[in-house]
Symmetry: C2
DNA sequence: GTCGGAGAGTGCGATAGCGGACAATTTCGA
DNA sequence: TCGAAATTGTCCGCTATCGCACTCTCCGAC
């Protein structure tokens, strides 16, 4: 268990975590995720076994943690989100599509459906947290206009729909550009949003 | 002080030392060695101050330690040293010339005469150790043929002459190739070697 | 079957690196 | 020339990582 007041980022922690993530990243381009042994990750990262398990429960936990490599840059884009109501609500989608677009043709990550599921499940949860605040705020401002659908459900709906589109876009290697995929996602949820006063 | 029992290579030690050497390497291509603050090295290597001083006395000590980056590869070439007597004795020279030749035109290291002196002095000492064994062995086999010049002096002579040639070759940016510089060095010491039964 | 080897996790004593505080020295602009 | 700021080198309590040994489970060979 890592327990620190976040204002004290120990160099060592950041270093070993990054080393492990980098090692996994490079390995997953060479062979299928499920065929990668923890030992291989340790060797490539040049990290001891016990250090690994003091940060991550297992290989899947490490994989899930790599989401931050994606979500990190997205957080930066958060500030500069002006525009319409739905722009403020769905600001996250385009950066994520673009991120994957960049990596889409370089070297395909070799991971089966199980690994994909882990990543997307984690992404979905994080999105729920991210969207949640926005939706609550927007709905509070417009309270009374509509009350049939619970906010929590709406948030889950947005997150899972986004992940669905992302999954489809990646899985089918659709020729759609990141922009187009993003538009597709928005089209899907737009009417529901307006119908619920968002 | 660094612990003993060399059979216990701690990952952490190797890691921080390499990080520091790499940092210095990259910095010395950007600005003059004497203008580089320890703080800058620490920042680039992402290493704490106390870790630095637990390995090196000061900046110069770190610089001197980078010799191993040169001498390491040379040790490998040691095995495959067949040929004449002097080939066995002077096997080290060509690899070193070649090493410097590779880096000579890429990006010149920005270091004044003081820094150069540190490096070459260290190199000289290591060469003395390296050559020493060989000379002693060769002379033991041919004992009696000549006894006027002490072995220790001969060794120092070889090392310092080599460093001299290397220094001249680098300093003047001589158009000589690594091979030619190596031949030059050999020509310089050849007669002395044969005169002393080597 | 069962043997043996390999990988996954766990536990532990030892230690390298951490951040931060400190005095001593150097640098440098007012 | 003086004082502030920067840099160097030292020290210390805390902790992350180390190497190593160990158990457990899985799995293919025989």
């Amino acid at each position: 268990m890592i327990k620190r007041t976040k204002d004290a980022p120990d160099r060592r922690v950041a270093r070993t975590q990054m080393a492990l993530r980098d090692a996994l990243h490079s390995l997953v381009r060479e062979k299928d995720y499920d065929d990668i042994a923890v030992k291989e990750i340790l060797d490539r990262a040049d990290i001891g076994r016990s250090a690994f398990y003091s940060h991550f429960r297992d290989k899947d936990d490490l994989l899930a943690s790599t989401i931050h490599d994606i979500i990190g840059p997205v957080r930066f884009a958060k500030r500069e989100s002006g525009g319409s109501q739905s722009d403020k609500l769905l600001w996250f989608s385009l950066p994520i599509f673009e991120h994957h677009d960049g990596h889409r043709w370089t070297s395909p990550l070799k991971m089966g459906p199980r690994a994909r599921a882990i990543l997307h499940e984690r992404l979905r949860k994080i999105l729920v947290g991210l969207i949640g605040q926005q939706v609550k705020k927007s709905r509070r401002e417009k309270r009374g206009e509509s009350g049939t659908i619970p906010t929590a459900v709406l948030v889950e709906y947005l997150a899972s729909t986004f992940v669905l589109v992302l999954e489809w876009w990646l899985e089918t290697r659709s020729p759609l550009s990141a922009d187009q995929a993003n538009d597709l996602f928005r089209s899907l949820v737009q009417s529901t949003l307006t119908a619920n006063g968002l």
